[in-house]
């Protein structure tokens, strides 16, 4: 308390941030005003406070003017609070004698009236000056980092991140909800712009992941719960029953042809429903792990249970079990298992889903059989696809002689998704090339803008033009099946304005391909909540800063990679996965994190022992000392949320950095400004 009575000597700095702040806030006027406030020893404005000279200025002033408090009015603390705290410390003060005022995001960027914005800056500065006088010296604490990493989602992003981390000798737990890893990329035929075969570059990587000594693959599993904090997370994983003992199955696949269904009968998810599979199946030949799965919804050995779920009926002859023989890998009694894992950091790489083409009814998907989605065409042109790479239409016989590829389906549209999905122009051109190669058909691309900003992408566009693929600039109005001219009979007719030629055109084609956009996974919001991340308004996970922390989230120790952060192609996805892995390795290598000392503590003398705070704590950090009849807080578990502080009836809980004195003086400060 002695320290509190010492004379308060505040140094105040207002940053121009180039013109980011100065254009809307009169910075010299703010400095001049704050200089008149009690306790302020000096008050300055400066072009860039975060620059070296800016930080040097703070350190010098602390020494020369015996400052014992520092306030900087600049950008968001999220960006530069650590910078200025460190400058304060280098000047010889405890870093928590520093306080920051955000007059950029909270002021200059969001206002249009300079006089009003300047007034607001002054009021916020006055509040900070009042508050900082009551700041106390605090110490940060260090927490060690668990070196194991959880990677959620095993598409190309998750696979690449997992491999990078595992190759450095660190353990990785890779969780994938499908029966195989590989994600969307495993379904692609070729990749743009090089046209190398997707399977050739992906499947070796998949099998490396499957056999890596440092990677534990949990396929057909989902993360259901996450507890803890950076360096020390406890993750709960649901292992869905695939009715196969993963240890016992050797991947011989003898059970599949032995199934009582002589012919594959059920829509094959991996082939987008264009092919058929049996109830016991492996998604595709190079699936990893090489373990079959049994689908209880179609398997005859299951029936509908009382709760609507599937239960064993034992009605089937179980020819699969017979075929499996001594290996005894088929286990109809398998149930869902819940497992817990301890990890230090997490990379979320949950990917995307494609836009449901039925939401664009004008294009007739689901109504006209020969309207396809782009993902269906990927399978149709694929040598390992349902037709062995033979491009035939849904009648199973005829090859298309003309194909219309409609870009931007579900993208750039306020009624569906407003964003550009980034990959569709390129993949449409790739499919145009492949369809032309396979069938020699006339191919028409209908686009709003052709977007090819990537290495070798514009060159690929040129190649397509050379190949004689048509590019018509116009968003298609509708696809219909009624004819106006004899050559339209029996065809799908695309009606579009050719905006460059200046005519409305009707173009009859045999096949229509919808270049569906990318959107957040159905359950992205659940995943976001589970990992305590943020989302943009469109639902993709939000990076901490688009330029400075592109794979970090607002939750320390949780990183994002790939299309779950926003639509992106394979090169960008892999680059981002590498970046996320590097962030994780940096964290592991450092070995510890410093934690903000914003924890709460209980004033033992004032606690009445009512216990009302205990059930409110979301982190179970509050315990009760039966002997003393008082509650106390385990600082290691406290996350500084403040719930207990607000709820304590006797006002006996105090939170560091947010004690009553600090908060009330801040409020008084802002209210004192006229």
């Amino acid at each position: 308390m002695a320290k509190q009575e010492q004379e308060v000597r505040i140094g105040f700095y207002v940053c121009h941030c180039g013109t980011n702040i100065a254009a809307m806030v009169d910075c010299p006027e703010v400095a001049q005003f704050v200089g008149t406030l009690p306790g302020v020893v000096l008050s300055k404005d400066y072009k860039y406070m975060c620059s070296d000279p800016g930080q040097e200025l703070i350190q010098q002033d602390i020494r020369e003017h015996r400052l014992n408090r520092v306030v900087v009015a600049s950008c968001s603390p999220l960006l530069h609070e650590p910078t200025f705290r460190s400058a304060t410390e280098k000047g010889g003060l405890n870093q928590f004698y520093f306080h920051m005022v955000n007059i950029r995001e909270h002021d200059s960027w969001v206002h249009t009236d300079r006089a009003e914005a300047t007034s607001k800056a002054k009021a916020l500065a006055q509040a900070a000056v009042h508050r900082v006088a009551h700041h106390k010296p605090l110490e940060t604490k260090r927490v060690s980092i668990n070196p194991t990493t959880l990677v959620v989602g095993a598409g190309i992003a998750g696979i690449h991140a997992a491999m990078t981390i595992a190759n450095s000798g660190k353990k990785v737990i890779l969780v994938e909800r499908e029966p195989t890893i590989g994600g969307h990329m495993a379904k692609f035929d070729k990749t743009f712009p090089t046209l190398d075969c997707a399977a050739c570059i992906l499947t070796p990587k998949m099998s490396d992941v499957g056999s890596h000594e440092n990677i534990q693959v949990l396929s057909y599993s989902e993360v259901t719960k996450v507890d803890g904090f950076v360096g020390n997370y406890t993750v709960t994983v649901k292992r869905k029953p695939r009715y196969i003992d993963e240890e016992a199955c050797i991947g011989c696949q003898d059970c599949i042809p032995a199934c009582v269904f002589k012919q594959p009968k059920f829509a094959d998810e991996f082939n987008e429903g264009l092919g058929k599979r049996r109830p016991v199946y492996i998604p595709f030949p190079q699936a990893t792990p090489q373990i079959v799965a049994i689908d209880p919804n179609t398997c005859l050995n299951f029936k509908k249970g009382e709760d609507g779920g599937r239960v064993v009926s034992d009605k089937c002859k179980k020819t699969c079990v017979e075929a499996c023989g001594d290996k005894n890998a088929i286990d109809f009694t398998q149930v869902e298992r819940i497992e817990e894992y301890e990890v230090g950091s997490v990379i979320v790489a949950t990917g995307f889903q494609t836009f449901d083409a039925r939401r664009a009814p004008a294009y007739g998907y689901g109504r006209f059989p020969n309207v396809y989605t782009s993902l269906e065409i990927e399978r149709l042109v694929n040598a390992s696809g349902p037709t062995g790479g033979h491009v035939v239409m849904r009648d199973g016989k005829s090859e298309p002689r003309s194909v219309g590829i409609i870009h931007c389906v579900g993208s750039r549209d306020k009624k569906t998704n407003v964003w550009c999905s980034r990959v569709c122009c390129m993949y449409s051109m790739k499919l145009a090339h492949l369809l032309k190669e396979h069938t020699g058909a006339e191919i028409y691309n209908f686009y709003i803008d052709v977007r090819t900003p990537g290495k070798g992408y514009e060159e690929f566009y040129n190649k397509l033009l050379d190949e004689g693929v048509h590019f018509i600039r116009g968003r298609v109005g509708e696809v219909t099946d009624w004819a106006m001219t004899p050559d339209e009979e029996g065809k799908l007719v695309i009606r579009v304005e050719d905006t460059l030629a200046g005519y409305v055109r009707r173009i009859p084609v045999d096949m229509v391909v919808l270049a569906t956009g990318l959107e957040p996974q159905q359950d992205a919001q659940d995943v976001r909540r589970m990992f305590n991340m943020s989302c943009g308004s469109e639902g993709f996970f939000l990076e901490r800063h688009p330029k400075l922390a592109p794979v970090n989230t607002f939750n320390d120790g949780i990183y994002i990679a790939g299309a779950c952060q926003g639509p992106k192609d394979i090169p960008d996805t892999v680059a981002q996965a590498g970046a996320a892995a590097a962030e994780v390795l940096a964290l592991i290598d450092k070995g510890f994190v410093e934690q903000e000392p914003n924890t709460a503590f209980i004033l033992e003398d004032e606690c009445s022992g009512c216990k009302s705070c205990i059930p409110l704590c979301p982190y179970t950090a509050i315990l009760f000392d039966e002997g003393k009849g008082r509650a106390y807080i385990n600082e290691a578990l406290c996350k500084g949320c403040g719930t207990c502080v607000g709820s304590c009836p006797s006002g006996s809980i105090v939170q560091n950095l947010f004690d009553d004195e600090e908060i009330f003086s801040e409020i008084e400060g802002v209210l004192a400004y006229e």
Binding site: P361, R367, T480, D481, W482, M484
Partner: protein
Amino acid sequence: MKYGYFPGCSLKGTGRAYEESLLPVMQHLGIEMRELDDWSCCGATAYMAVDEGKACALAARNLAIAEQEGHAQLMAPCSACYLVLNKTQHYMAEYGAMKRLVDKALGSVNLRVTRPTPVRHPLDVLLNDVGLEAVKQKVTHPLKGLKVAPYYGCQIVRPYSTFDDQADPQTMDRLLESLGATVVDWPLKTKCCGGSLTGTLPKAGLRLAYILLKEARKRGADVIATVCPLCQFNLDGYHDKIAARWEPVRIPTVYFSQLMGLAFGLPAGRLGLQRGFVPMKPLAAVTAA
């Protein structure tokens, strides 16, 4: 069930068969429709092209009368009236300036719009208030074997789709099925009939009517069912001209309410069936059966 009734000019003129069939059908279902006293023209599409403010004020006069007469809801069978009355409400809710202008204009003759009186289309009322079960119970002469192309046209689903799907409306499909008819898959059900262009610019307008008729016939429809007097007129009135310009595509176009009347066993003579240009042979066959 009671509704205020806004017939609009067409239902008293070229579209009188619509009113002649709708009123007895609704009465048969126990629905009371009371015509607004001294209603004035809704303004249709023509008025909006001349002066938006006046168009809204004149349409709002009818809403004010409905309110004054204490109607909880207003039924507007004509598509243009339905749209204009709805649009006026949207504009008044969305744009303060429009509401002030309309309030001022109505105020000058002591009229007022204080609340949005829901403007309902008969299809909406039949499906959502009456219910298909109640309709089915009244069917005495099912339209068995009659293949109908349901034609919704533009203005009851666009731009404000309040009671049906905008891209693929279904209410009339369901209604016709409940009468025992077979609904033909006809993707043009919300395409434009040509509107007033059939008269003012036949080359353009009649082409649209021709396409509708041609495709309906091609898809095996015996009859087209419509909800709009202008649509009915365009599809029924120009067969000679269409035949001269393109090819004969004679197929009758009737109001859905006329088909309801037939299925309910109401006397054909009371349903305005004699007012169509194209004879409705298929219907005669049905009722005879």
